[in-house]
């Protein structure tokens, strides 16, 4: 048996991969499947479309409202009625950007190409988080703008960008919303590795407290509920009234949101490093 030593032949143009390589690769993965685009298009159209539809229904029926109802009508909050659909779809986007790799088995190929697993986590976090911000930056102003047009057409009260609270809501939902609704689900995707369980847990985390909060005693609202990510975002955006037990002022709200982002991604990183792929 003759044993020749294996010399590696440099491939023309090949280089040592770095973080930029992983970023490029993750972006290719995301954009090369139709489901990504379907989710993005649905997120945008459903949130804007439903907001417009509800605004239209409110406009058409406005004259039938009681004077009390008409007086407390808030044109800002009421222009984000379709946001729920958009947020659920952002959760789905964050989760499946990870779990589709586990269900198809490409996660192993990913880690064969990039054995430094935290680079993969970092690249996905960056890309999906940025995508979340971009999508939120499209839907927030659009929902509000379209709804104001409708409200105006029916002679209802309207708000414009310069009015108090409008930019605060838009900006906090773009940045805090765009990030928490994609990245916490992404981290949960890495932790649970299955789409169904990760989506369920994410939806529970974001929407259940909202529904349960009014039924819970004050001290639970004050010590637990208001520190949940969605509630902190609502405090930041001015949706929760400053006199509510669930309200967090600006700085603690921002710290809470960052803590959730960093914490969930850190748990994902810890498990990713330890576990078998």
């Amino acid at each position: 048996m003759t044993v020749t030593s294996a010399q590696s032949r440099p491939l023309g143009g090949a280089r040592q991969p770095g973080f930029g390589s992983v970023l490029a690769s993750e972006w290719t993965k995301l954009r090369s499947v139709r489901s990504t685009w379907i989710i993005i298009v649905l997120t945008i159209t459903l949130s804007i479309g439903f907001s417009a539809l509800i605004a239209l229904v409110q406009g058409v029926t406005f004259d039938d409202w009681g004077p009390q109802e008409q007086a407390v009508f808030d044109p800002l909050i009421n222009s984000t009625s379709g946001l729920l659909f958009g947020l659920i779809l952002l959760i789905v986007l964050g989760v499946i950007s990870v779990t589709s790799e586990y269900s198809s088995g490409t996660i192993r190929t990913t880690f064969i190409a990039t054995p430094k697993r935290l680079r993969v986590l970092a690249a996905k976090t960056l890309i999906v988080g940025l995508l979340g911000i971009i999508i939120a930056a499209i839907i927030m102003p659009a929902m509000i703008f379209v709804s104001q047009m409708i409200f105006g057409a029916y002679g209802m009260e309207t708000v414009s960008a310069g009015d108090e609270g409008v930019m605060r809501l838009i900006l906090s939902f773009i940045f805090a919303g765009g990030l928490i609704y994609t990245l916490i689900p992404l981290a949960i995707g890495f932790i649970l590795r299955g789409a169904a369980s990760a989506i369920t847990l994410s939806i529970g985390l974001f929407f259940l407290p909202w529904m349960l909060a009014p039924l819970l005693p004050n001290w639970v609202q004050e010590n637990i509920i208001r520190f949940l990510p969605d509630l902190a975002m609502d405090s930041l955006g001015g949706i929760i009234a400053a006199d509510s037990a669930m309200y967090l002022s600006q700085t603690p709200a921002i710290v809470t949101i960052l803590a959730w982002l960093v914490g969930s991604v850190a748990v994902a990183a810890f498990l990713l490093k330890r576990r078998d792929a």
């Binding site: 048996m1 030593s5 280089r15 770095g18 690769s25």
Partner: protein, 322 residues
Amino acid sequence: MIKTQGLTKKYGSTLAVDQLTFEVQPGIVTGFLGPNGAGKSTTMRMVLGLDNPTEGTVTVNGKSYRDLAAPMQEVGALLEASAVHGGRSAWYHLLWQAQAAGIPKHRVDDVLEMLGLSEVAGKKVGGFSLGMHQRLGIASALLGDPPVLLFDEPVNGLDPEGIRWVRALFKRFADEGRTIFVSSHLMSEMEQTADHVLVIGRGKLIADMPVAEITQRSAQSHVKVLSPAADQLAPLLVAAGADVSTGARNELMVTGIDATVIGETAASNGIVLHELSPRRASLEAAFMELTQDAVEYRADGNAPNLTDIQETARELTSERSA
């Protein structure tokens, strides 16, 4: 070169890989044989840094896989050909890997061409046949043109032409000095592909030797002798160190010495031979013999018959060094 030292993997209470120590040499095709559940895939996942060993170490070219600077340019691997996203085209499937690995884009077209997949490059992988999946998996492994290649059951689903092509590819790569590590439970396939084999059963190394030797050492390899004076010849052969069993009339089955010695013994004693034919056991048969205990254990779930396997292994290795 791939090197393991006391490599062990436990999944809960399942001991999937048990104290494996071996080296896979460059320049030859090394087969990795074992029945289902023997631990072949687990071993390969540990080589690639996907699963963490419970004990022991494994290195590729002297480094742990996770420490390789450009892993896909140093090691190519095919694990599960079905591990692809069905909604992505073949071209994109290879592109994201190339990008992650620092490999230029044009190489994607090159490997697709090599594997005869150029025409379906833009098609969604979900519609691919078993054989096309397998080709795509091999294309991934070749992307970085690496000196070390690992293939887990690469011929699964390939047609005869595909199998011949893959076999020739392995040979060519080995001749170029690359390290080729190929797992299979199809012994007949390995017989024609591998130069050297590692046989494992229930996670343990049973044999580590050239293919030629493993079949030669098998009890089922023997020399058939036909002689009108078989009765006279038998004791002479035994004296020369052979094990002799008698078959049909005038027929002897001889193991332990080769045909040359038998012929010379007969000649020097003036015995006429009508037939003198070496019968080589197929690797398949040798493998069945080697792994019988491991398979039996799996089938009936009895207590592990470790001593038997170790016995077989010891016999084989001592014969080999003799």
